[in-house]
Amino acid sequence: MGTTPLVALHGIRKSYGDLLVNDGVDLDVRPGEIHAILGENGAGKTTLMRVIYGLTTPDAGRIEVGGAPVSIASPRDAIAAGIGMVTQHFALVRPMTVLENVLLSSAGLGPPDTEGARRRFAEATELLGVDIDPDVRIEDLSVGEQQRVEIAKTLYQGARVLILDEPTAVLVPQDARALFDALRRLTASGLGVLFISHKLHEVAEISHRVSVLRQGRIVDTRPTGSSTPAELAELMVGRSVAAVLRDERRVGPGPSNDEAVVIAVEHVSLDGSTGKRLLDDVDLRVHRGEILAIAGVSGNGQRELADILSGMRMPSSGHVRVGRQDITGATPTQVVACGLGRIPEDRHGSVVDDLSVEENLVLEDLGQFRRGPFLDKRAIRRRAEELIARFAIKAAPTDRIGGLSGGNMQKVLLARVLAKDPRAILVAQPTRGLDVGAGEYVHQQLLARRADGAAILLISEDLDEILALADRVAVIFDGAIMGIVDAATTTRAELGLMMAGTPQQALGGAA
């Protein structure tokens, strides 16, 4: 492919405060190519797209369109340069018709040229190979059809390069299929597509080249055909050269017989609002003194599973139990009362940022800190001081929790949970964004709880973390469990294949 790239990025850097989200990214899209960007949540994909589309300005780096440098300061500039973007949240006015929405995108002074627009929109849909009635209202279209309208709209605006941000996240499988057919037609006519995803099988199916983004950097760009999904999974989550490093502090009872099941997830399914199945018959048991890890690329249902266990969401079917108590659809207070400690992925979403450390520490059980009708502030302070000392939190009781570092905030959450001696713990991405010391501390605390007999359900994207801590590993893909393996005997290759969507049974003798 010796042709000039449609769009090329050189050395794009972008930081928010001290956080470097894009670190010298080089990337290009050639005519007729689908170039996939693969990366975890937080790897910097979305920021990169926002830079290309003019929604944010990079700190350094340059963008070339058709070989000539351009300055893209707003989406208007991007559209003028022939770049179109479709995100998961459609920019459509629902009570208006398709044609009216298309006209909106290029409205100027004076009466709109309805007939011209109708003709050009018909050309765009023909190029896309889909049939869209321009006079139907957006709200009467399915999600997949709305997405096609968005794509047709960018073509109508003259896009030569299409950026699609996780386009299948909201689609049911049939719609995803139709989308892929449409994309193939577009590239056949010389357009370029930048396809952002963290779903390996899609990338493998649709793209020509793939770039893997990790911690703000492109770790590799390669032809899609030259790598297996398992290799891509490893690139994406990072690999250590060393063999699996089992944590030598893993001592204690370990998994025991069925009598000691503490957390039971029984045939849980969840349907999303677009009709897409987010969890599909998930069935798991965590025993006393066991760490069961859920491995998988993020966005495959982990967050929904955690929400259901935390009492924040009701499954469509199935049951969740802690010990003998059914906590399906229970409130967070009831869940905590059953002895389940929750350390969620979204730290800021599980505390009240503008309240103090001490207030957050007691927010779940204010009933215990009462003196008559009043809050017993002295007891709250005592509890905070005790937990701050016990968990080595670097903060004063009156500090605003939102101002703490990720590590310290995680320690506060850990303290809030572990102070209650929970018999079951749900912990998601416990070390994401933490420095090595804080991450190490969190691991040590979890292992200590395991030794004391707690059942721990660990949701993580970090294979190193999983292999160091877990007794068994369940791999989740597209809302379903691909298989459950023994952490001591599994291999990264086996986990990688399951993370890419191969069920354990299909691996045959490979394990």
């Binding site: 924040m312 969620p344 979403g349 940022d353 009933g367």
Partner: protein, 361 residues
Amino acid sequence: MRMLLRGTAPRWLTPALVALAAVLTLALTAGPIRLGGASPGAAFTYYLVRPLTTSYTVLEVLLASTPLIFTGLAALVAFRSGYYNIGGEGQFIAGAIAVTAVTLAFPALPLVVSLPLGLVAGAVAGAAWGLIPAVLRVRRGIDEVVTTLLLNPVALLLLQGLLNGPWRNPTNQFPESAPVGAGWELPRIVGGSRLHLGYVVALVLAVLAWVVLTQTRVGLTSRAVGLAPKGAAFSGIPIRRTLLGAALASAALAGAGGAVQVLGLQHRLTAEVSTGFGYTGIVVATLAALSVPAAIAVATLLADITVGAESAARALQLPPQMGKVVTATLLLCSVGVLVFRHYTLALRGRRRGARAAGGAS
């Protein structure tokens, strides 16, 4: 220039910003005052200083602050839980109507009965006026800013309908209710002044509100809901119940204020029972940054400007509305300037030292 989030603000910052807002207000209103034909210096002396120089005018200021304390507390209680009750005006009027109905039904009651009965009637009516928007918000997620606001003119029309219809004064045919019975009039608390017991009631309710908001579980949970509904829900705080409670307490405070205004000052129901006290209460709560002690101070300041504006109108021939211009400018300047408690300005192009996010070596 661009705005950057700042981590923690130094202690001196808030007082400095308040001072800056005051200076800006003086500078911005000097022009209109000059156009009104008065010297800005003299006008500000009338607005801010003169009312505080004689004991009679000081007591007038306290009298004028009474309804503002009620409506200010009402806005504050709701806003702290993230319920934006803009309906204080309508709830205030509902309270005034209800207390009048009770006085007409039981004209002769001793104060020990009439005062609590009047307060309860006003509070219940206010809460009832606030109930529909609160339920719509909690059950259906319908924005309370719109619904509470739209019920304000409904309350005013109801008031006007009653005064021009069934409650028209039978002796002089004015559109105002018959005077309340003597047992219903709140006693004056300082000889030679119109200041009445309602001011003490306002202060007692303020202390009560302060205790509940800062010293009890309900205060902490409602604040948590207002600051971060998601985090509060994760901690097991019942969001809907908290919002509903805050909405009704807020509306009840506004309604009690309406009752006190009828019983303490007007001694009858008129169409002018509220001169926008419900709306000014929002200004009080906002300027006070949702703190109860600060709300009393702000209510007193706004009352000071109101009393001063009346005398300035007489002495300097300035339009009395100029007081509202000053108050409104103060609000805009304060809200605008206090943003910098959380943000700092940076010149464009100046970059902070970026640190690599994890080495990939």
